[in-house]
Amino acid sequence: MDKNHPVIIVKNLAKQQSIKISEKAIAKTADAHNLLTDIADFFLFLSQTCKELFSRNFEFREFLHQSFQIGYKSVPLISVTGFIMGLVLTIQARPSLVHFGAVSLLPGMVAVSLIREMGPVITALICAGKIGSGMGAELGSMKVTEQIDAMEVSSTNPMKFLVVTRVLAATLMIPVLVLYADALGLFGSWAGSNIKGDVSFVLFCSQAFSHLEFIDFIPAVIKTFFFGAVIGLVGCYKGYTAGRGTESVGIAANSAVVLSSLLVIIVDLIAVQITDLL
């Protein structure tokens, strides 16, 4: 082991000072070291991705291919989710609003909650599951089968070809998917309103949009770019840094979903706080 490794340093220091350190404490030191190394590696990965993004010879064809994979191929899943999201929200909220005699506020309430919060977060979480795990597994499997090494020795920069294209495609496609989910959510909400009522689509939309302001829309859209970047970065990072065994492909896919979902929630919290200050 490297003599500068913290575990070795701790062991040597304890030896010099004649201090007894338990194996548990040494294991904790190693865990802390691994965590900090992982965080540092992630930021190095991020900086390298940014550097490659702005360097020459952008892989435009691969970017288009990834945009198709991420955007178009997620449409069926996002359609169903978006529609059900609006439908369920309406069915759940309606009794309370009826109780207070405020059923006319239903379209506005659903629109605001969908566009400000539910649409972006739920769509991003679904994309974290579908896209993040896909990226983690695909790149992890490429790593295990030496395809990334093969790319590197054939004078192709794998960061540029594999990572930059996927991160950029996720960053640009997820906002589009969120807007699409929002639209279908409103459609689902209209369908939900018609289960126990009778409201025309034009009237529903007019009531929904009369409660929406610019400030509801813009921050919600801006944060989806960050959601996309986080999902793309984490998925690629986990896949690209996967270990050598086949087991590591599963670990990469799994940890990509877990970490990107967690980061989506954290980014959302930060975005909400910033919006609140405005």
């Binding site: 082991m1 490297d2 395809q147 093969a150 020795v153 054939s154 004078s155």
Partner: protein, 258 residues
């Protein structure tokens, strides 16, 4: 960029009759394990050098250090006169264009057809080629490995031996000066192994390459190598001709040749 390395799109065959690869006192370790302790070797122009050794003796690490997939902890690696460790990424890219690397697993791109697999390095390394020339080069490489009918197949539709051949075609399609073979016959039946060995010889004759063949398949080494090196415990244990190895009374060497 180094003007010597910038031979643009058409690699020029190495005219230097001397060494194409010179490795001196190479050391490489991973965490607690030191895989290569002190390895020095030379590969002459036009030579086929087989590197023998048990699994885990650092054979694959050695050739991955040559193309800087791994950075050495100590020592120098000169390829075509250039110190690999001191090259910037642009010059390293130029140098890699002159090296063909056959991976142990074949490393074909799963999401691409055979044609796309072969076109991928060609489009990046030989940027001046027209579409017609690219198709011709791909067909020529596939014919050289006897698999021209696999043109539109996906890697998942190919057998292990076919994948190795396609992978070989992908490396020769860009006319490399140096070939690095990582366990070319591992996991293949004896007949297919012999076919791969013959292909290695054919490639050496046709493309005038210098090669390092990492193997623990003694038949492959017999069929392909002009010279052999045995790695043991991270060091060069023996360097010599096939006859010297076969005549050796050393127990470790005998265990490979029995």
């Amino acid at each position: 960029m180094d003007p010597l390395l910038n031979s643009a799109d058409v690699p020029v065959k190495n005219q230097n009759p001397g060494q194409v690869i010179e490795i001196s006192h190479l050391r490489k370790g991973f965490d607690i394990q030191e895989v290569l302790k002190d390895v020095s070797l030379k590969l002459s122009n036009g030579e086929n050098l087989a590197v023998l050794g048990k699994s885990g003796s650092g054979k694959s690490v050695l050739i991955k250090c040559i193309v800087r997939l791994f950075s050495p902890d100590f020592g120098t690696i000169k390829v075509l006169g250039k110190d690999v460790n001191t090259l910037n990424s642009e010059d390293l890219g130029e140098l890699r264009k002159k090296i063909g690397f056959l991976f142990q697993s074949g490393a074909l791109y799963d999401s691409m057809t055979v044609r796309q697999n072969l076109e991928f390095p060609l489009r990046r390394i030989r940027r001046n080629l027209s579409q017609k020339e690219i198709v011709e080069k791909v067909m020529e490489a596939l014919e050289n490995v006897g698999l021209s009918d696999a043109y539109n197949k996906m890697p998942s539709q190919l057998s292990g031996g076919m994948r190795k051949r396609i992978s070989l075609a992908r490396t020769i399609v860009v006319d490399p000066l140096i070939m690095l073979y990582d366990e070319p016959t591992t996991g293949l039946d004896p007949v297919t192994s012999d076919e791969i060995s013959l292909l290695i010889n054919d490639i050496q004759k046709k493309y005038k390459t210098s090669s390092i063949i990492i193997t623990h398949d003694i038949e492959c080494a017999r069929n392909t190598a002009n010279r052999l090196i045995m790695l043991h415990d991270g060091e060069v244990y023996k360097d010599g001709t096939l006859k010297e190895f076969e005549d050796s009374s050393d127990t470790l060497i005998r265990s490979f040749f029995k």
